[in-house]
């Protein structure tokens, strides 16, 4: 479980995160949603430690990140997997080498075991075998996301972060990627945090949703609670499209 308590973050005069507190539960897909510029990416990067927060606590199962030394942070990061918006696969390596990279750096197992583990991760994300030796630039965006997920789970992390996992994907592929993230969260009992503004994803896999508005946590609940939420900003954000307005009408 990851707990965020009274987190504040400023960039110069810009107060981006204002006293944000939240709990992200284990074995569930936790989602941070909000409009562009609301502070959700800063929140996620602060939780991972890519941004140093001004005040507050970020606890990974009781271990407070801001109190940790660099060496401790590096140990913690071996328990973290991350799926980036643009996949962030290493251009100079093949698909298989990308998945093997964290294993080679940290697993300390034999080459055969590393290959076996990498292959099992690639099979888990249903990547066709013929693509294993291709470069990331030679496969589609959806396949790149699968490789990135396989790389993220290679070391069986306790915490998985996904930054806009559906960015640039068609609706069908987005759905497959969402389901995949949801399934592996359950399978490995990970604490998964997804940063998204894709309402299809939210409605599909959002077990716990945190809505960030102007740097503050404005609402918290599940996907079923959204239809009955009375938060005006949340309603403006979620039901911006005609389709979702109709869905809400039908639900209420």
């Amino acid at each position: 479980m990851i707990t965020v308590k009274n987190v504040n973050k400023t960039f110069g005069d810009n107060h981006v995160l204002k006293n944000v507190s939240a709990e992200f539960e284990e074995g569930r897909t936790n989602m941070i949603i909000g409009a562009s510029g609301s502070g959700k990416t800063v929140l996620m990067k602060s939780i991972i430690g890519l941004h140093r927060i001004d005040t507050g606590r970020i606890e990974y199962d009781g271990r407070n990140l801001p109190d940790m030394r660099m060496s401790e942070i590096r140990i913690l990061r071996k328990e973290v997997g991350m799926l980036f918006q643009g996949s962030a696969l290493f251009d100079s390596q093949s698909v298989l080498e990308n998945v093997m990279y964290p294993l080679e750096m940290f697993s300390g197992t034999s080459k055969e075991e590393m290959v076996e583990r990498a292959l099992s991760c690639l099979r888990r994300v249903d990547l066709p075998e013929k693509s294993y030796k291709l470069a990331p630039s030679e496969i589609s965006g959806g396949m790149q996301k699968r490789v990135a997920i396989a790389r993220a789970i290679a070391l069986q992390p306790k915490y998985l972060f996904c930054d806009e996992p559906n960015s640039g994907l068609d609706p069908k592929t987005s759905l497959i990627i969402d389901q995949l993230i949801h399934e592996i969260t359950r399978e490995f009992n990970m604490t998964t945090i997804i940063n998204s503004h894709d309402m299809n994803s939210v409605m599909e896999i959002g077990e716990k949703i945190i809505f960030i508005n102007k740097g503050e946590k404005a609402w918290e609940g599940s996907k079923d609670d959204i239809f009955h939420a009375e938060n005006e900003d949340l309603n403006d954000f979620v039901f911006a499209s005609q389709l979702y307005k109709k869905v809400k009408k039908a639900n209420t």
């Binding site: 140990i75 643009g86 251009d91 940290f106």
Partner: protein, 246 residues
């Protein structure tokens, strides 16, 4: 103020770069690739530039020093010393700052803007050390070979002038390049070039590593890397020359 800030940032980055790699195996996997990319692949440009500069230097020296009082071997001597003292170290490094500097800055800069460096950091890898150290060491190792190669090819270029034209006789040229040879000049040139190689690789890596934004910003980082490493080379050239030859 900005220069102090940038220098501090550069020093802090180097502090992260110049440490023992997390995995030597990964370092030695990357190192030969960098030797090839930064060193061997620079050979063609070194050959082309050195042979032509050697030839043109011989022609210019001969045509502009027509004086019966000057010994006939002086053209070869001037060509040799110019190559040894400045061309094959400083000028070659300025040219390589363009080729290698932009290559390193754009490669690392692209990794930065496509979040590949963030991915390494999230995995707990010292990304600065993993990405930059093999490049710096590979270029520093290859540079003396490039310099010696450039000296030799430059002298061959001058010899070709004697061979294929009547501007200078090959006998006079050969006498000139052997006359009053000071081996220390070769050491001085190699020492300088090693220092410049470190500047080129580390400054270019610095600009690439801290690139942000999009493709346009990677281009800017690449330009800054070339311009600033060239300025530093010229500055340290004066300093080192003063210390080592004065």
């Amino acid at each position: 103020m900005k220069i102090i800030h940038e220098t501090g940032k550069y020093v802090l980055l180097m502090k992260r770069v110049l440490v023992q790699p997390d995995r030597w195996k990964m370092f030695f996997r990357q190192f030969p690739k960098e030797l090839e990319k930064l060193g061997l692949n620079s050979m063609p440009i070194v050959i082309i530039i050195s042979v032509f500069i050697g030839a043109i230097m011989t022609i210019q020296t001969k045509l502009n020093t027509e004086n019966p009082l000057l010994p006939t071997y002086s053209t070869g001597l001037v060509t040799r010393d110019t190559l040894l003292l400045e061309f094959s170290s400083t000028i070659l490094c300025l040219i390589l700052a363009g080729k290698i500097g932009s290559n390193i800055a754009s490669e690392i800069g692209t990794m930065r803007i496509t979040e590949q460096i963030d991915a390494l950091e999230i995995m707990g890898v010292n990304s600065a050390n993993y990405l930059i150290l093999p490049k710096v060491i590979a270029f520093v190792v290859m540079m003396p070979f490039l310099v010696i190669f450039s000296m030799a090819i430059g002298l061959v270029g001058g010899y070709a002038v004697g061979l294929f034209s009547d501007i200078i006789s090959t006998a006079d040229y050969l006498l000139g390049i052997q006359y009053a040879f000071i081996p220390y000049y070769v050491f001085y040139s190699i020492f300088k070039s090693i220092f410049f190689a470190f500047i080129i690789a580390s400054v270019a890596s610095y600009y690439g590593y801290y690139a942000y934004g999009g493709a346009l910003d990677v281009g800017k980082a690449s330009t800054n890397a070339v311009v600033n490493s060239s300025i530093l080379i010229l500055f340290f050239n004066i300093l080192i020359t003063n210390i080592m030859l004065n």
